[in-house]
Symmetry: D2
C-alpha cells in the first residue's frame, strides 16, 4: 500500500520539523514522559501535537522497565477523571435534562483516553499503542490498579479495530517477506521452523488467510492455515511436514483448518476469530466450488492437565457418575501396560510408545476426551476446553476424536496426543450456534453421538 509509506514520509517530515520547534532534546530524561503527555493533552496546534505524540512514543519505547512501570503507574494515578468533577456532575444529573448527562459522561471520561487518541496520530501510532498494551498486560496481574488504564486502552482499540474496518487477505508466497516473517513469528499452534517450512505451508495445496487493519498493513491480526486434502485428516504430522508431497488443489474435496493464531498480544480480548473462519469458508467455497467439507484438526490444550489432576485425586469437578464407568476401563488398561506408579506417568509412558498399546488404551482415552469436552462446563453453555468452546460456539459439529494424532512433545504434554475434528457445515452453523449458546447442546457426528449415548450418557 504505497499510500501508507507516502503518508509516513510526510508525517515524519512534519514531526521532525515540529520536534525542533518543541525544543526537545534527544536525551530528554524518561521522567518527562508524563510531562510531555500533559502537554499533548493540552496542546492546540495539530502539527506540534503530532511531533509531541511521536516523541512520547519514542521515549516510551526506549525507556527501561522501571521507567515504563512508573509511566503506567502515573497513567493510572494522574490521568484518570477528577473525583470532584464526577461528584458534582453526579449530583447535578437529571434524567430529564440531556445536558446534565452530557456533562456526566464528560466528567467520567478519563483524560488518558484523549491522550491515547492523540498518540494515535503519530506515525505508526496505532502499532505503538498495540505494543504499549502488550507491555501493560504483562504488568496487570501484579498491579491490579492498572486495570483502569487497560480498560481505557482496550476500549479505544476495540473501537478502532471494529470488524467493519478489517479486511481479509490471502497470504501466500507472493506476499511481502516482511509479512511472512510475522507469520513465522506468530504461529504458536504448530511452530514454523524457517523459510523452507513456511514455503511448504503456503504451497499450492494450502491456503492461508488473515485479517488486516489498514493502519497495520504488514501485520496479520489473526490468521488461519488450511490444507486442501482428499479426506478428513486425523493426524497432524503430515500437514506440517515440510517434505510432504504436493497434491492437486483442484482435486481436493476437503479443507482442513489446522491452525488459527491470534497475532497481536496487545489486542487480547478483542476477538476476530469467528468472523475470520466464516469469511474464509465463504471465500474457499467461491474459489474452489468442488470443496465438500470444511473441518478443523484441533488440540485439546487443557485435557492432559485436567486428566492428570483427576488421576492424582486433586480435583473433583469431573461428573462422577459418568466418569466412573469410563475409569473402570481406563485404569486397568493403564495398570496392565505400564509399571509406573503415578497414573499420569503411566499414561505418558504408554503414549510415547503409542503403537504397541494403542489397542488397549485408545478406546478408553477417546471416551474420556469425549466426556471432557461434552460434560465439563466452565459455566452454563461454555465447555471447559477453550478450543472446543470456540468452535462449538461458532456452530461447528464435534465430528471425530483422534487418539495418537499429535505425537509432538507439546501435543503429548497438553492433549495426551488427542486431536479433534470440528466440522463446519454452512447450512447448520447458525442452528448449532443457537443450540449450544442457548441450551448448551453440542452437535455431534452420528458416530460420536452413538458413542456418547452408549458409553457416556447411557451408563449413567
Amino acid at each position: 500500500m504505497p499510500g501508507i509509506k507516502w503518508l509516513e514520509r510526510i508525517t515524519n517530515t512534519v514531526a521532525d520539523r515540529g520536534r525542533e520547534l518543541l525544543g526537545l532534546r534527544e536525551d530528554e530524561a524518561k521522567n518527562s514522559l508524563a510531562d510531555l503527555c500533559r502537554r499533548l493533552i493540552a496542546g492546540r496546534g495539530e502539527a506540534s501535537n503530532i511531533a509531541l505524540a511521536r516523541e512520547i512514543l519514542r521515549l516510551f519505547e526506549s525507556t527501561d522497565k522501571d521507567g515504563k512501570d512508573e509511566f503506567f503507574a502515573t497513567l493510572a494515578s494522574q490521568f484518570g477523571p477528577a473525583p470532584q468533577g464526577i461528584s458534582e456532575a453526579s449530583a447535578a444529573f437529571d434524567p430529564e435534562k440531556p445536558a446534565t448527562l452530557a456533562r456526566l459522561i464528560e466528567a467520567v471520561e478519563p483524560p488518558r483516553q484523549e491522550l491515547f487518541r492523540r498518540l494515535n496520530m503519530a506515525p505508526h501510532g496505532t502499532a505503538s499503542l498495540v505494543a504499549m498494551r502488550s507491555e501493560l498486560l504483562d504488568r496487570l496481574r501484579a498491579n491490579p490498579e492498572l486495570s483502569s488504564v487497560d480498560a481505557d486502552l482496550k476500549h479505544l482499540l476495540a473501537s478502532w479495530f471494529n470488524r467493519g474496518f478489517l479486511r481479509l487477505q490471502r497470504i501466500d508466497w507472493h506476499s511481502p517477506a516482511a509479512l511472512l516473517e510475522k507469520i513465522m513469528q506468530y504461529e504458536s499452534v504448530h511452530s514454523i521452523d524457517g523459510w523452507r517450512d513456511l514455503r511448504r505451508r503456503l504451497a499450492d495445496d494450502r491456503r492461508c488467510f488473515g485479517f488486516f487493519h489498514p493502519a497495520l498493513p504488514d501485520e496479520p491480526l489473526i490468521f488461519v492455515e488450511v490444507a486442501l486434502t482428499g479426506e478428513v485428516t486425523a493426524e497432524i504430522g503430515f500437514l506440517i511436514d515440510p517434505e510432504a508431497p504436493l497434491t492437486d488443489p483442484y482435486a481436493a474435496d476437503t479443507a482442513m483448518f489446522y491452525s488459527i493464531n491470534n497475532a497481536l498480544r496487545g489486542l487480547r480480548g478483542i476477538s476476530f476469530g469467528n468472523f475470520l473462519l466464516k469469511q474464509v469458508l465463504s471465500d474457499l467455497g467461491d474459489e474452489l466450488p468442488q470443496l465438500k467439507r470444511f473441518v478443523t484438526l484441533s488440540p485439546m490444550p487443557r485435557f492432559a492437565e485436567r486428566l492428570n489432576m483427576l488421576l492424582a485425586g486433586d480435583i473433583e469437578d469431573w461428573p462422577r457418575e459418568r466418569l466412573d464407568p469410563l475409569l473402570e476401563d481406563f485404569e486397568p488398561a493403564l495398570a496392565e501396560h505400564s509399571n509406573q506408579a503415578s497414573p499420569s506417568a503411566a499414561v505418558f509412558e504408554l503414549l510415547q510408545n503409542f503403537d504397541q498399546h494403542a489397542a488397549a488404551l485408545a478406546g478408553p482415552l477417546a471416551r474420556l476426551a469425549l466426556l471432557y469436552i461434552s460434560a465439563m462446563k466452565r459455566s452454563p453453555g461454555v465447555c471447559c476446553d477453550p478450543v472446543a468452546a470456540f468452535h462449538l460456539a461458532n456452530g461447528a459439529v464435534l465430528e471425530r476424536i483422534n487418539v495418537g494424532a499429535d505425537k509432538s512433545v507439546k501435543g503429548m504434554t497438553q492433549s495426551y496426543g488427542v486431536m479433534v475434528n470440528y466440522l463446519y457445515d454452512p447450512e447448520q452453523v447458525v442452528a448449532n450456534h443457537e443450540a449450544f449458546v442457548q441450551e448448551g447442546r453440542i452437535a455431534m457426528s452420528r458416530a460420536l453421538k452413538r458413542e456418547h449415548e452408549k458409553h457416556i450418557v447411557g451408563k449413567r
Copy 2:
C-alpha cells in the same frame, strides 16, 4: 483497493444467508427499526449480527422522513443510559476503588453507542453512519433533544476518523471516475461545471489532494485545489476558467491554494483541514523543489453581510474609533458615484460596474476589509471571518487584500468581490500560530502592516 470489494462480496454473502435465517421479510415495516436495533444490541452471534446491521441500515435508508424522525426520537428516548443505573453507580462511586469508576463509566455509556458500533460492521456500515449523521444534523435545530444522539454518533466518528487513520492522496485525471464525480459534487467554493471544467482543474499545471479513510476509498473527506503559477494571483477568474491556457508546472514558483472543501456533511465538527494543508505543503515541496511561495486565494464569506448591517445601522460591534476614520473616506466615495439610497445597494451597484469606479472605492473598501479581518473578534484570539480564522490559526501570514477579485454573484454577495491571499511560510508557521492563538496577534506582510499602521491603528 481490491481488498474492500472482496470483503464486501464476502460479507454480503454472510449477510444474505444470515438474513434468511433471521426470518426477515423485505417488507418488514419501519416501526420495527427500533426492535431490530434492540435485537442487534442483545445479539451474540456475530454473523447474524452483520445481517441484522445490514438490514437496519437498509430499512433506515428506504424509510420516509416521518419514519426517520421517529427512529431518531426513539434513539434519544429509549437508547440512552438507564437513570436508575446511573444513580446507583454514582452513589457507589469511590475514588479509591477503580472498580466503582469502571461501573460508573459503564452506567453512563448510552447503549446507542454499542448500537452504532455494531451497525458499523455491516457492509458499507461506516458510509451509512456518516449519512445517518447528516440526516440527524438536519433535525438538530428543531429537535434539541436529539443532541445526545448526535453527541454519541459524533464521538464514535471522531474516534474512527482519527487523523492517524487518514491518508493523503493525489487526485488527478487518472483517478477513478467515481471519485472525480464526488469532487464535482462536493466543490462548493468555486463550483465545477461538468467534466470539461473538472479536467482543466486537474491538468498538469494543477494539483488536487484529498484525505481518505480506508473504509471510504472513493470519498475524499476534504480536498484542496492548487494552481501552479508564476506569481501570487489576485483574481479568481483565471484560475477557474476552463479555457485558461496550460502553463509549465516546472517553471512555476508559486502554489496557489484556491479552494478547500469539506466533503462529508456527516463529519461536521471533525476537522482535518489544517493537517491537509500542511501535508500538501510538504508534498508539493518534495515534488517541485523550485516552488518558493505557498499562498491561498480565499473569500471573506461574511464580509458583505457584516458591512451591510453596519451601513444599515443594525450592528454596533465594529470597533468604532478605528472604523469612523475609514468611513469618512468610504461614504463620500459611495455617495459621489451612486444614486442608490441605501448604502449597501450603492456598494453593490458600484462593484458591478467595478472598472469605472475602482479608483475611488478600492482603497476604502480594502481598508474596511483589513479592519474586518484584523479587529473584529468572535472571541479573544479568534477573528470574525471563519476563513481568516482558519488560516491565521494555521500559522499563515495575511499577505494581500484584493478588491474586485471575484466578480461572480456569490463573490459579490458574500465578500463584495474582495479576496484575500494568505501566505504559508513553513519556517514561520509555528511561530505565527502561537502568536495568533496565544495573543491574538496577526502576522501581516510588510505592505499590509504599513497600511494597518497608517490607516487603522495609527488613526486611532
Copy 3:
C-alpha cells in the same frame, strides 16, 4: 501502474540531460529528422540514444503534413536494405552453410526496423510508433511505395503486441477518467454521447472489458460492451438508452454483446477480437454462473450498399437462382407500399415508416439478409459481411435476424435497420469454427435453419 509513471520520470531526466549533451536546439528544422534517424541507428551510447529517440519523436509530432510526407518518403527510399548487399548475400547463399543464411537474413532486414526498435526506447515510444503508423496508413493508398515502411512497422508492432503480453481488464465507473475518455472517443459502433451516457453503459447491469498492453496502460486496444438481460434482445434502442432503468445483474440469464471496438488505428491488421470475446465469455461465466446465453446484437454494415447495388442492377454477384424467388416476394411488396421510382429509395422510405409496413416487408427483407450472410462469399469460407465473417469464424451460431432493430440513421443507411444475433455456445465454438473455416458451413439456430431450407436452399 505506478511503475510506469516512475520510469517515465526517470527516463525524462536521462533524456533531458542527454538532450543538452547532444547539442540539440528546440527549433532544429524538420529536415533534420532523417539525419537524426541516421545518428540514432549508428549511435552506441544507450543514454544518448534515448535522448535522440525522444527528440525524433517530438520533432515528428510537431512537424507539419509536408514534413511528415517527406519523412515517410525518406524512410522508404533511404532506410531500406542495400540492394548490393542483398545481391552478394543471395549469391553466396548455400543451404548447407547456416552462416550464409544468417548473412542473407541480415542483408534483407531494412535498417528502419532497427530504427523503430530504438525509437521504442524513448518515453512513450510505443504509443508514438502506434500513432506514427496511423499517419502512415492515411498515406498508403496514395503512396503505394510506402507499403514497405508499413510492412516493417506492422511487423514490429505485431511482435510487440503478441497476445501473450496483453491482459484483459474490466472497465467500469471506478476506472481512471483518462481511460474512460478513451472509451468515449473510440466507441464507433453505437456512439457515446457524453459522461452521463457512458455512466449508464458502465452501470451494474453492464460489463465492459478491454485488452491492454503494459506499455499503454490507459489505452484499451479493443473493448467489448455487454448488457446483462433476461432475454435475447432484438433491438438496440433499449441497450444504448441512457435512461434505461437499471436491472438486477444477478437475475440476468443472458449476456448481450452489443458493441466491439478496435481502438487504435495504428494497430490495424493486428487482430485481438477473437481472444477478447473468448476470454470475456470465460470471465463472465466465472463471475455470474447463472448466465445461460452469450449472444451478440450486431449490424450488417455492408448489407444496404450491396442490396442497393443489386436493385440498381449494378452488380451481379448475388447467387441468382436463390435470389430470384426472394425478389419475387420483395419487389411487389415494395411496389405496393411505395411510389418511389428507385427501389432503394422505396426501401428506405418504407423502413423509415417502419411500423405500418412491417408486416409486408419484414419477411422478404429478413430472407434477403439471410441470403446475404449465408451465400455471398468474399472467398471460399469467408462470407461477404465482415461482422458475420468475424463471428462465424469465431465459432458462433447465426441465431436470429431482426428486422427494424436499429432505426438510427447509421443503422438504416448501412444495414437497412436489420441486426443479427450471433450466439456463442462454449461447447460448440470449436466445432462451429472448424466447420466454417474448413467447409464454409454456417451453424444456424433451428428456426433459421428451417427458414433457410424452406425459402432459400429449398427453392433452388
Copy 4:
C-alpha cells in the same frame, strides 16, 4: 499484479478446454513435439492455438535430455526457410520493385520464428521460451548447427525485451518472497547465504533495484545492490557481512554499487546493465539528494588467470616494455617473501597471509592491476577485463585500485584479492563514454593518473 494472475486463470481455462478438443493425451510421446509444432504453425483457430502452444511447452519441459536434443535438432533442420523459395525470391529480387523485396524477406524468415511467436501466446509462454533458450545455449558449443535456432530465438527475445518495455523497481524486504527467492538464487558476484543474509542486504541503509518485464513480474532481469555509506569503501567484507551494524541512510554521502547480476541465462547477449545503472543513479539522486558520490566496488574477474599465465610464461600479450619495469619490483618481492617455486603459487600464498607481506607486495600488485586494466586490449577501445570494459564504456572513472579487498576464495582465485572502485559522475558520464569508445582513452582519478604516469607510461 493481479491482472497477470487473472489472465493466467482465463487462458488456463481456454487452454484446458482446447486441450480436450485437440484430442491430446497426457502421455503423448515426445517424438510428437515436432508434429505439434507443425500443427501450431498451420493452425488458424486462436483458442486451439493457445492450447497447442501450452501443450508443446509442457511436453518440452517434461521431456528428457535426449528428447530435447532431438527437438532442437529438428528445429534447426526442418523449421528453417525453404532453400528453393529463397533461390527463387533472390532471383526475382529487383531493387526497383518493393514487392520483390517483401517476397524475399518472407522467403528468408525461418518458420520457427512464427513458431516461437505462437508459443509465446501460451500462459507463461515468455518465461518458457527464455528457459528454452537457456537449454539451447548449453548445447551451442557442441552443436554449432543450432546457432541458427539460437539466432531466431534471440532475435525475438531482443525485440520483446526492448528497453521501452522494461521497468525499474525497487526491491526490499516488502517485496514478495517469491521475488526475493530469485534474488538469492541469481546473486553470483557475492553469494547470499539464506534469508538472514538477504535481509541485511535489503536493510534501510541499502538499496536494491531491478529491471522487470511485465510478462515476468517476479523475475528481475538484472539487479544491482547498493550500500549507502560515509566513504568510498575499499573492501568488500563489511558490505556483505550479515552482522554489519545498521547505519543512517540519511547521513550517507556515498552510494556503493557492490554487485550487479544478470539473472536470466536465457537472455544472454541482450544487455540491460548500462540502462539499469543510469536509472538507479537518477533515482537515488532523487530520493537522497545528499548523496555526493556514486561508486562501484568491483572485481577483476580475469586478472589472476592472466597474471598466472604471464608468470608461467604461457602468454605474451602483456605490453612488454611497460610490463618489465613493473616485474622488476614484483618478482623480487615475491621471491623474498615466499619459498614457493611457481610464481603463482607464491602470490597465492602471500596473499592468503596478506597482512604480513602487504607492504612489500601491495604497490607492485596494484601497478600490475593498473597495467592490466589500462593497457591490455581485447580489441581497440575495449579493455581486457570485462567488468572494467563495462563500467568504462558506461562512462565511469577508474577511481581506485584496492589490494587485499576481497579475501574470499573466489576473490583470491579470480582477482588476487584486488577490487576496483569505478566512479560515476553524472556530469562526466557522456564525455568519458565518448573518449573511451572513440579513442580508447580511460578517465582516471588524479591519484591513479599520477601513478599511471609515473610508473607505467613514464617508465616506458
